[in-house]
C-alpha cells in the first residue's frame, strides 16, 4: 500500500504525518488526561498513607532562587528525582532515614521542570533542609573546601551578591519538602 508513496509526494507526506501523529498524540496529549496525579498537587494528612504534608507554590524569593538555578545550569549535573530504586532512596536519605520516592504530584508547580538527565553531582530532590546557610555559602564559593575531590565549578558571583545567594538557598531549602519525611522535623535552616 505504502508503495504509492514512491510516486506521489502528497501521499508520502500525508502517510508520514498520520503515522507520526498516532504515536505523538497517544504519548503526549493523552497521558495527562488519563493520569490525573500529574496535575493534582501533593497533599496528605494521614500518616498511615506515608509522609504527610502539602505542596505549596514557591514564594517570590524562592522563585528568584529557582531562576538562578536555571540560569547557571545547575540542572545539567544535578537531577531532581528520587527514582523507584533502593539505592536512590538511600542516597537521597539522610542520617539513616531513607527518602520517600518522588511522585508526579510533588512537581505540579515546576516550570521549567528540573528532573534532569545526568548526575555528575548528587541528586537534589530531597536536599531541602539537609545543609544550613553557612554550609551553602562555603560550598558555593569553592566546593572543594568542603568536599575534596568535587568537580563542581565555584560560583563566587552568587555568594558575593547577598540577594542572589539568599534566594538560591531559599529555593534549595524547599526541595523535597512537600513530603514531610524527616522524623522530628530536624531540618537545617
Amino acid at each position: 500500500m505504502l508503495s504509492k508513496a514512491d510516486n506521489s509526494a502528497t501521499f508520502a507526506v500525508v502517510a508520514a504525518l498520520v503515522l507520526f501523529f498516532i504515536g505523538g498524540i497517544l504519548t503526549t496529549v493523552v497521558p495527562p488526561l488519563v493520569d490525573k496525579s500529574w496535575a493534582r498537587p501533593f497533599e496528605n494528612n494521614d500518616p498511615a498513607k506515608g509522609p504527610t504534608g502539602k505542596l505549596l507554590p514557591l514564594n517570590e524569593q524562592q522563585l528568584h532562587g529557582r531562576a538562578i538555578y536555571v540560569r547557571e545550569g545547575c540542572w545539567y549535573c544535578h537531577t531532581q528525582q528520587t527514582r523507584t530504586l533502593l539505592a536512590d532512596t538511600k542516597r537521597s536519605g539522610w542520617k539513616g532515614v531513607d527518602s520517600p520516592i518522588s511522585t508526579p504530584d510533588e512537581f505540579v508547580y515546576d516550570t521549567p521542570h528540573m528532573f534532569g538527565t545526568k548526575r555528575t553531582g548528587p541528586d537534589l530532590s530531597r536536599v531541602g533542609g539537609k545543609y544550613d546557610t553557612q554550609w551553602h555559602r562555603t560550598h558555593l564559593r569553592n566546593p572543594r573546601d568542603l568536599v575534596p575531590g568535587s568537580v563542581m565549578p565555584p560560583f563566587p558571583w552568587i555568594v558575593n551578591d547577598e540577594t542572589e545567594f539568599k534566594s538560591l538557598v531559599a529555593y534549595l531549602q524547599t526541595l523535597g519538602r512537600a513530603k514531610n519525611w524527616r522524623p522530628d522535623n530536624d531540618y537545617e535552616r
Partner: protein
Amino acid sequence: MPEDKSLQSVAATPLRTTVVHSDATAKWFVVSSIAYFFIVGIIALTIAAKFVWPELLGTVSYLTYGRLRPLHVNGMLFGWLLACDMGLTYYLVPRLCGVKLYSEKLGLATAILWNIIILSAVVSLLAGWNKGWEYAELPVWVGVMVVIAWVMFGINIFATIGMRKYQQMYVSLWYVMGSILWTAFVYLTGNFAVEFTTGVNQANLNWMYIHNAVGLIFTPIGLAAAYYFIPKASNTPLYSHKLSMIGFWSLAFVYVWTGAHHMLHGPISQWLQTIAITFSLMLLIPVWAVVYNFFATMKGQWQQLRENVPLKFLMSGVVFYLLTCFQGPMHSLRSVNAIVSKTDWIPGHAHMALLGCFSFFAIAGTYYIVPRIFKTKLHSEALANWNFWLMMIGGLGFFVTLWLGGFWQGWQWNNPAIPFIDTVKALKPIWTVRFFSGVLIFCGIVAFAYNIMATAVNANLEGGL
C-alpha cells in the same frame, strides 16, 4: 571515470542531465557550518577540560560549565550538524529531482537567517538567558527565528520536489520530506507547547522533543544523506528499494512513542514507561533494515574503503549507527536502565549517535560535494585521511571509556555504601581519557575545516565563486 552504476537503482535519477546547478545555498550552509564546527569544538574541549581541572576559567560567570554546556550542545546540533545537513539537502534534492533548486535567493536568505540565529544563540546562552529545557534552551525570539528559517527551508525543498522531472522519488527524498515535517511539529512541541504545561506533563513533552530531535530530525536528514552518498561514493546501486521502504515507514511510526524512556524509574506513570520501552525495542526494526541495506550495498565493494575517504566516513558511520541504536533499546530495559541511566554512559551514547554516526555522514557528504560545487579538486586527500583517523581514534577513545566508566559508575551508585563523592573521584581517569580523546577529535576538525576552506579558496583563486 567508469559509468555511474549507482544511478541504475536511484530510480529516475538525473543521469545525463543538462541542468546546471548554482549550489550557492549549499555552499553557504556547508561553509558556515564548518566554521561553527571549529568554534564550538573549542568550547567542547573547554568543558571536557573542566571535568579534569574544575577551577579552569571558574570565576568568570559566562565561561562557567553551566553556560558553556548548552552552547556546546546547541552549537553542535544547530550550528554545525543541522546546518551542514541542510546544505547537503540543498545539493541532493535538486539532483534527485532533475531540476534546479526552486529559489537560490530564498536559500541564501535562509542561510543568512540561520547565521543570525546561531550568533544570537551564542550571545544569549553565554549571558545565561537559558529557558531551562534541554535542547530547547534558546530564548523564545530565537526559537521563532528557527521556525521561520525552517519554513523557508521547507518551502524551497517542497517546491523543488513539486517541480521534479522524475515522477518516482528516491528514498532520500522521502527522508528529507519526513524530516522537514516531523521537525516542524517536534520543534514546536519542545520549544513552545512546553510553555503551557508544568511538572511531569512538561517533562514528558520535553523528552518527546529531546528524543525526536535526534530520532526525527537528525536521523532522517542524516539517512537521506547516507542513502544518497553511499551509492554515489561507492558507485554501486543500492541493494534493496523494498528494505529502504520498511526502514522509512517503521521509523515514521515507531520513533515518536519513546520519549518517556528518559524517565524510567522516575516520577511518571508506569504504563507510559512500559509503552516507551516496548516501542524503544521496536526501534531495532528501522535500524536493522537501514544498516542491512547499506552493508548489502557494499557487498563485493569493501576494497574501495582503502582509498575512498568519504566512504570510510560513511561506513564507519553506519557501524556507529548500528551500535548506538543497539544501545538505545537495550538501556531502555528497566534492568539495564537501573545501572546506566544518568551516568556518563549517556553522553557516550549521545556522542556516538551525533558525532560517530551523523557527523560522520555529514563530513562524508561535505567531502563528496565540495569539490563538485566548487568545480575543483579536494585540497588534500592525505589530510582528509588524517581527519578520518583522528576522529575515528578520538571518537572510539571517547565512546568506549565513557561506556565502561558509565557502567562502573552506575554499579557504584547502586551500592549505597559507597559515598557519592567517591564515585566522582573514581571517574577522574575516565574524564582525563575523554579530554585527550577530545583533543584528537578536535585535531580532526581542524584538518577537516582547513581542507575544505583551502579547497574553496583555491577554487576562488582559479575562477571565482
